[in-house]
């Protein structure tokens, strides 16, 4: 019976990651290191049925299957880059919790720095302009006092 079951299982062929990311490029991982690396890599993958949760932390069955796949691939000697590449091949960049520095994603990294630089320029520019303005005010007042009509208005206001 066991032989029959084994033969039956041998005929089942699931898609092999080597077809998409090539043969394993690293050394097989085993023991406690395997559990640790599985958790680390699963933490980099997004659970596709959860809200912003990693595969490592999600209790969903899909995430459990993905975690088991990571475990299996590490044991076979696949590297972190290959494993993440395999999941990205199937699910797209969506599955990576840390977006890659590529294409539109570049904006995610560049935009905050750009906004910070622009903000600093605006703040420094405004501060410099405000520093100059009080110096200009007495000159403006002096110029205003030369105006005979304004001087007359002030004189009348003072009398009242």
């Amino acid at each position: 019976m066991i032989t029959f079951l084994l033969l039956a299982l041998l005929q089942v062929k699931v898609p092999d990651p080597s077809q998409f990311v090539g043969p394993p490029k690293g050394a097989p991982v085993a023991g406690a290191a395997l559990e640790q690396r599985t958790y680390e890599i699963a933490s980099l993958l997004r659970c596709p049925v959860c809200q912003g949760m990693s595969v490592a932390d999600s209790p969903s069955t899909v995430a459990q299957d993905m975690k088991a796949q990571v475990h299996d691939l590490l044991a076979r000697g696949y590297t972190q880059e290959q494993i993440l590449g395999y999941f990205e091949h199937s699910y797209g960049q969506f599955v990576l919790l840390k977006p890659k520095f590529r294409g539109v994603n570049t904006l995610v990294w560049i935009l905050p720095i750009f906004v910070l630089v622009v903000g600093a320029v605006v703040v420094i520019g405004t501060a410099r302009r405000l520093e100059k303005e009080p110096a200009e005010q007495p000159e403006a007042q002096a110029a205003a006092s030369d105006d005979p009509y304004l001087a007359r208005v002030r004189e009348l206001m003072e009398k009242q």
Binding site: A8, Q11, V12, K13, V14, P15, Q19, F20, P48, V49, T61, V62, D65, M66, A68, Q69, F87, E88, H89, S90, Y91, G92, F94, V95
Partner: protein, 172 residues
């Protein structure tokens, strides 16, 4: 200065409103599949019931509809009659395949006995085939053309219209 602030502020506000408008108009469940336009990942899985091996590559030359589902999935009950009826009507022109994951052969057999069946249902025991196809939540359906290329992916329960529109794509 006030004019510049107004123009820049309006531009930023308009850009944000446009992003929100586009983002909110999308179905959050609809995730673009990177597999569309690529070769379908090959698999050989056992059919529930008769134990027959079904090799996807052996079916090359015929359009294929691969439907990932499970007996614990509510919307799968809704779309099952649509798939069965269309598989019967379309006949041998298109090969329909059901792939069930995170489930047991017993549950699947009783489901099929109760709700009917018109095409092979395969068991993806460890969910590895589902992972290779980037399946998140069931039901998800892939439409594969004669050359083995994935032409379309549909997330959620199929209706007659959505199924027939996608089948038309693989028959072209």
């Amino acid at each position: 200065m006030n004019r510049t602030v107004l123009i820049v502020g309006s531009a930023i506000t308009l850009a944000l409103v446009a992003i929100l408008f586009v983002g909110l108009g999308k179905d959050p469940q609809a995730i673009d599949s990177p597999l569309v336009g690529r070769q379908a990942p090959p698999f050989t899985l056992k059919a529930v019931g008769n134990g027959q091996d079904i090799d996807l590559q052996a079916l090359r030359g015929k359009p294929i509809v691969v439907n990932f589902w499970a007996t614990w999935c509510g919307p799968c009950y809704q779309e099952h009659p649509v798939l069965v009826q269309n598989a019967r009507e379309i006949g041998p022109q298109v090969q329909f395949l059901g792939v069930v994951f995170n489930d047991t052969a017993g549950n699947i057999q009783s489901f099929l006995q109760q709700h009917g069946s018109a095409y092979p249902t395969l068991l993806d025991d460890e969910g590895k085939t589902a992972i290779a196809y980037g399946v998140g939540g069931v039901p998800e359906t892939f439409f594969i053309d004669r050359k083995g290329t994935i032409v379309a992916k549909f997330v959620g329960p199929l209706s007659d219209d959505t199924l027939q529109a996608n089948v038309a794509k693989v028959l072209q």
